[in-house]
Amino acid sequence: MGNIWIVTKREFASFFATPVAYVFIAIFLMLSGIFTFFIGNLYERGQADLIPFFNFHPWLYLFLVPAIAMRSWAEERKSGSIELLMTLPISAAEAVLGKFIAAWLVLGLALALTFPLWLSVDFLGEPDHGIIVAAYIGSWLMAGAFLAISTCMSAFTRNQVVAFILAVVVCFLFVVSGSSIVLDAFQPWAGNLILDTVASFSFLSHFEAMAKGVLALNDVGYFFIIMVVWLYASLIVIEQKKAD
């Protein structure tokens, strides 16, 4: 446990030692504002909720989360510091978790800094605060799922650009797997069972309910399982390929 915390602390500090975290948070706040007001029409709807804000999160995360995760392992590999890290008495699992938690905390911080929106809605009307809290938690969980995928892609390569592109592609597949873009590829040959399974991987459909404030066990469980599976995959990739 202690080791995870040590790695998390180092990684978290490193996000703020470089401009990465500041740029990320600034862009996240700007984009989420733009989406919410100009495309989501928060004011014009005349409803005291944050649904327009949360609905755009999957699309924001699609590009921003791979950007924040791309360096996590690719850079270790490129600079050779992975050799240092792996020969310290820290296990690979602790390192993976530590790095993941640090980035997840940065995402959480970015999300928390959108609180002025919440205040505005509260000032203008009477929103259901429970729903908003639930939606925030849901959004953070989904961010974690994006992050776990991106971490794994970063573990595959020493090139950050490759890591970013791979992560965006895989995340995109997960986001749209419930839509015709992906399903059409399965339609001609796969049975309904496979179609339903593929469709059920969709981040969008799992987040849909969460954005409305419903934290159902299957949605929460889904995002947790995605995180566990992809982090475990990262661990295997790192163990296998650490010296390449």
């Binding site: 490193s14 600079s79 992975i82 240092l84 008495p89 820290i90």
Partner: protein, 309 residues
């Protein structure tokens, strides 16, 4: 304390390390010598648990690296090749991170940090990001990191690579100061380094152990060992030197005019030559007893197989 048995490492079909076996006891300062790509770094990576061996076993303090890697890594200080570190951290932050990982606490932590910073002379750069440091300082940060927890086993992969002569001297001094009861393994391709700090030399070529003994024995392998070289101020008849008792052969370098006399095995010829020169009043400028040329022995040992094969 370190025991390696039949260690091998394959990359696809390439054999990087080929059936190495050796033991290293406390107090040994081992110089790992070999040409580039000989398998030195690969061996070190396996000793530190970074790479799993393809075959063979490594025991460190009676624990197997397979099952007890983390416990073993606690006892090892390791400077990887190129001294990688987290460049965005300052030296101070980085050393504190390592102190955290090494579980140094309280007064002991303070004392260790102070001691290491003082020893490696990092005082002036503590608040600079590691990325902005010169190569020599980066290397020193790597060294500081490796010795911070005062490990029993210190493994340094090319610790003096890229340092200037003063810094090299300093690092050697540091290693000598450390290593009373410790195991130190240094890889290098600088031969004087081995002669200067190590009490044991292992030469690896093509993944195989070619030589394992003290630097003195290595020196004695050289035909220049105990040879006598002299330089004349003007031409004179020196043919008599070759006839002296114990002199095996005389070589004259036409370009430099350096005369080298090789002894028969086990013979000491310096005094006889000295006497001869004095008696005949030969115009000798310099008269030196050679200690053996390591670079020549190194070439012989590392290229032997290729020549035979």
């Amino acid at each position: 304390m370190i025991s390696v048995k039949n260690l091998s490492k394959f990359y696809d079909h390439f054999k990087a390390v080929d059936n190495l076996s050796f033991d290293i006891a406390p107090g040994n300062i081992v110089g790992f010598l070999g040409p580039n790509g000989a398998g030195k770094s690969t061996t070190m990576k396996m000793l530190t648990g970074f790479l799993p061996p393809s075959e063979g076993e490594i025991f460190i303090k009676e624990r197997s690296i397979d099952s007890d890697a983390k416990a073993i890594q606690r006892d090892i200080g390791y400077l990887p090749e190129g001294a990688p570190a987290y460049g965005d951290m300052t030296v101070w932050q980085f050393l504190h991170f390592i102190a955290d990982v090494r579980r140094l606490k309280g007064a002991h932590r303070k004392e260790r940090l102070y001691d290491v910073i003082h020893r490696v002379e990092l005082g002036d750069v503590l608040n600079r990001p590691i990325d902005n440091l010169s190569k020599g300082f980066k290397r020193r940060v790597g060294l500081a990191q490796a010795i911070l927890h005062d490990p029993d086993i210190l493994i340094l992969d090319e610790p003096t690579d890229g340092l200037d002569p003063n810094q090299k001297h300093h690092v050697r001094q540091l290693i000598e100061d450390l290593s009373r009861e410790k195991i130190v393994i240094i890889s290098t391709h600088i031969l004087e380094e081995v002669a200067a700090v190590c009490n044991r030399v292992m030469i690896i070529a093509d993944g195989q152990l070619r030589f394992d003994d003290t630097p003195e024995v290595l020196r004695h392998r050289s035909r220049f060992c105990n040879a006598v070289s002299l330089r004349l101020s003007y031409a004179a008849d020196i043919s008599g030197l070759a006839e002296l008792d114990g002199v095996d052969e005389m070589e004259i370098d036409r370009k430099t005019g350096l005369v080298t006399l090789f002894p028969e095995p086990g013979k000491h010829i310096f005094h006889a030559i000295n006497e001869y020169v004095t008696q005949r009043r030969l115009p000798v400028d310099t008269l030196t007893l050679e200690t053996g040329r390591l670079d020549e022995v190194f070439r012989d040992i590392t290229t032997a197989e290729v020549a035979n094969g």
